[in-house]
């Protein structure tokens, strides 16, 4: 069955058709969520939120208005991922006494990357810096650097202007550059 037929049937309440749409798109949504969270469990939660939200909005979905069903779904995935991270950051902030937080903090403290930083240490540091970015900035960064999307596409998925995406990317890159300056600049470029 064609995607268009599946959408129409799903809009009429055909659960089997919606299941087939899930089958067609699950890897795309999960891939985005996993690259964003780097955590399988979190990515599964985002996948579920995305499809539940999609089903709720399916009746109002118009193919003409959107370039395709998968790009519409991708946009929902982006929004669910950002919301998920916001909740998680808020949760971490509220519950900083919990052992989970203690463990995360101690992971971050593990080793001093400023001293004898290896390439692996630097990559690890970059991973942590990306994780610590504000949710929207992180999404723009992940979509650009890890999904290789164009700024125009990112703006479409994040439902904002291209200027706003550029600003988020610039801030993200600058924060990484600033944090790594000591590690890289002084090491390799000291004059």
């Amino acid at each position: 069955m064609e995607t268009l037929d599946l959408i129409e049937n799903a809009q009429q309440g055909d659960r089997e058709a919606f299941y087939m749409l899930f089958e067609e798109n699950k890897k795309m949504v999960f891939g985005l969520a996993f690259k964003y969270t780097k955590n399988k469990q979190d990515a599964e939660d985002i996948l579920q939120d995305t499809f539940i939200k999609a089903l709720n909005g399916l009746k109002n979905f118009q193919l003409k208005k959107h370039s395709s069903f998968s790009s519409w779904l991708y946009r929902i995935g982006v929004s669910c991922s950002i919301d998920f991270l916001r909740d998680k950051k808020r949760m971490k902030k509220s519950l900083s006494d919990w052992e989970l937080m203690d463990r995360t903090t101690s992971d971050r403290r593990g080793g001093d990357p400023e001293e004898n930083a290896s390439r692996e240490d630097i990559k690890k540091k970059i991973g942590l810096l990306v994780d610590d970015m504000p949710p929207r900035q992180k999404m723009a960064f992940v979509l650009k650097h890890f999904q290789q999307l164009k700024i125009r596409e990112i703006a479409e998925y994040m439902e904002c202007s291209e200027g706003s995406v550029k600003k988020q990317l610039f801030r993200g890159v600058e924060s990484i550059k600033g944090s790594l300056k000591k590690l890289l600049w002084e090491k390799d470029y000291e004059m």
Binding site: Y19, Q48, L55, N56, M91, H145, I151, L169, Y189
Partner: protein, 235 residues
């Protein structure tokens, strides 16, 4: 053009998204400005390192489990739609009833709600501390669940707790416990997932209009949540 502007353009240039004219200007500037040349080299190096952190291996999700959760949630929504939209064919009447329930629930919920359960529980590192936190969490949840489980059964029971801040805090606590349960008590995880669904529905109740106290009541009763909370709370 000042160096600052060129530095912004460097990033776009490395993305391959700088227009031709600006790219030429940038290249000319770099030839003349050693600071910007060095900055460009540094930015390229950072981009290379970022590229190396890219996660290529995406694991397989537990697709069956994910679909069954989606299906379960959607079934509840469907049931609610069938039942209530057929029952109240006029949108205006349904909306008015919903708003009345919302306002009454909010007012009564605010006045009858016992404060103190909204504190975030602090857990220690041990399994015992986790179990204790779980039990405290269930104790905090019980009044809310009981209220929804008996919604509409008598004249005075059509009130629901709608203290959003309180419910949101319960939700945050629930999410955290769910994550910890994955390591410490996998059996409790499913129950916490069901409770998360309920708490999300309650917090979204006035946002999208797709949830209602009756729908939540049905879910609590069908899934035997209250009984499960009692049993879990005693373990």
């Amino acid at each position: 053009m000042k160096c600052e502007k060129f530095r912004k353009n460097m990033i776009l240039y490395l993305y391959g998204e700088l227009d031709k004219k600006s790219a030429e200007e940038l290249k000319d500037h770099i030839k003349k400005c050693p600071d910007c040349a060095r900055e460009m080299e540094y930015t390229e190096k950072v981009f290379d390192l970022v590229e190396e952190t890219k996660t290529e291996d995406i694991p397989d999700a537990d697709w069956e489990k994910c679909w069954s959760r989606i299906d379960k949630k959607v079934s509840v929504l469907d049931k609610k739609r069938e039942k209530y939209f057929d029952f109240f064919p006029k949108w205006a009447a349904a909306a008015a009833a919903f708003i009345c329930i919302l306002i009454i629930g909010f007012v009564i919920g605010r006045t009858t709600f016992i404060p103190g359960g909204d504190k975030i529980t602090v857990a220690g590192e041990s399994q015992d501390a986790f179990q204790l936190s779980l039990q405290e969490h269930f104790d905090s949840l019980k009044p809310l669940l009981i209220e929804y489980a008996h919604y509409g059964e008598d004249r005075d029971s059509n009130k629901v707790i709608l203290d959003k801040k309180y419910v949101e805090e319960l939700l945050i606590q629930n999410i955290l416990l769910k994550r910890l349960a994955a390591e410490k008590n996998p059996d409790a995880r499913q129950l916490l997932e069901d409770i998360e669904l309920i708490l999300r529905e309650i917090t979204n109740m006035d946002k999208n209009g797709t949830s209602s106290p009756l729908m939540i009541k049905e879910y609590i009763n069908n899934q035997g949540i209250l009984n499960a909370v009692d049993v879990r709370g005693m373990i």
